[in-house]
Symmetry: C2
Subunit: 254 residues, 2 copies
DNA sequence: ATAATAGTGTCTATTAGACAATATCCT
DNA sequence: AGGATATTGTCTAATAGACACTATTAT
């Protein structure tokens, strides 16, 4: 990532210009952030959805999300960056601290008729939540009914707006990224075994992995120092696997 | 890509609701699209920039771009999708038909202070232009001065807003994507030789490629049917290379 | 002892990379 | 003929995948 360029100090003539400036005559669309919050619990890939109470799409499942605070309006909310808006919505709708999940901008969706009320452009993010944090999710929840639906069964559910398309885009992204990045560690508890990690891969991609070969791939990360052994054992019906711990965690932005 | 879900027909009660609906009290940010238009000419990676005539950042180089038409305003412009806005801006600022270049959404930038006038969120796209189309670029140009600057020399140029960050993000993306996709064919004329294609890779990534090994990689695509031999030869001081042609071209969206 | 799963080893095929050797074309 | 570059070939190392084998734990 390149460092963000700092805001410039305005010069004399420029300040003069800015004082006279009036916003354009173009109508401005509303801008929202929507979140595809994913987790793997009980060997199932799940996505967090909220039931809409109002039209349009009343009683449909929808992605959690909300307006980006643009600042300078009657709501009294300060302006916020997109990433900040995503983190705020995540915390408001799930109670999860942004620092505890993997959060990344996904894609921006702006089809003209995606919202029948008005022009809404949404910046979609996806979040990966470790299963051990899932029980905390109720807490901060909005009044709205929220539920982890099985991604596998999404075909039989009508999602609001273009949210199905957004979910599909997120799935593509994580399935792809699973193979060359370390996002899998964001879908597993703080400590984990290799078979557990393998299971996450299998569930997300929907294909089985050879245990031996998977282990070898994993070992290369171990040697690279991304992972270290951790104390503890699993309760199991047979030989328990070694427990590991990922060294770094968390992230925001792209 | 998943097919876009069609707009739903609204039901009776929903229509009633929509009729009563009033947009939210939140201030709406302006939304723009900005384009990172790249090409390779004379063995140099270049980006198309326009010189700003007005404050802020007067006389600075900036990415071509403009407002997304949201519809329903006094400008009389119809609402348009994001991709459509990108294509329109491309055509307005360069004269290039969207169907003739590779165009893909890059990332959305929304730092609060990225524009000192007001809150502006920009959806950035990048475009790859074949060198044989570059001479056509003047044509549709705006009044603004436009120029292909060398990416290599961008450090000595102060770009407007956060446009440097956007360019850097685009460069990262294409350097990465060059290795596993076929975007290189969008930076080369309709017919090309393997050494020409190799040169594009070398210029974009900044590293030399072994001719023999590169050829082998290329041959796999040939066998996959992505490429076919084409008639014609190059004028050269030594043995001329075989000329090929890419089978498909163009694209819009992500 | 046995079942079950963790963990190791082996073999093959594919691919990237370094580098040498040959072929073909221009002047 | 000579120079230059295209094109082919060879060798090595790294990696993925299929699959057999051994080790360790719970019951």
């Amino acid at each position: 990532m390149s460092p963000r360029s700092k805001a410039r100090a305005a010069s004399g003539r420029e300040l003069e210009f800015l004082a006279r400036y009036r916003p354009s005559e173009y109508a401005r669309p509303s801008v929202t952030v929507d979140l595809v919050v994913l987790t793997v619990v009980d060997a199932e890939l799940r996505v967090l959805l909220v039931k809409r109470r109002e039209h349009p799409f009343q009683d449909h499942w929808a992605l959690p999300g909300g307006f980006v605070h643009a600042g300078g309006d009657s709501s009294g909310e300060a302006a916020e960056d997109l990433d900040a808006a995503a983190v705020r919505e995540l915390e408001e709708e799930t109670g999860l601290k942004g620092s505890r999940v993997y959060l990344e901008q996904l894609h921006t969706f702006g089809r003209v008729d995606r919202d029948p009320r008005m022009r809404v452009i949404t910046v979609a993010y996806y979040a990966l939540v470790r299963p051990d944090l899932v029980p905390l999710v109720q807490a901060g929840g909005d009044a709205a009914e929220a539920e982890w639906l099985l991604v596998r069964e999404l075909d039989s559910v009508a999602l609001a707006f273009d949210h199905r398309e957004i979910v599909d885009t997120a799935l593509q992204r994580i399935r792809n990224k699973l193979e060359y990045s370390d996002i899998a560690f964001s879908l597993v508890p703080a400590t984990f075994t290799i078979p557990e990690l393998r299971l996450v891969h299998e569930i997300v991609t929907g294909t089985p992995y050879d245990p031996g070969n998977f282990r070898r791939r994993f070992n290369r990360m171990l040697e690279a120092g991304l992972i270290e052994k951790a104390p503890g054992k699993r309760l199991t019906a047979s030989k328990p696997a070694t427990v590991y711990r990922f060294v770094r965690r968390e992230r925001v932005g792209a």
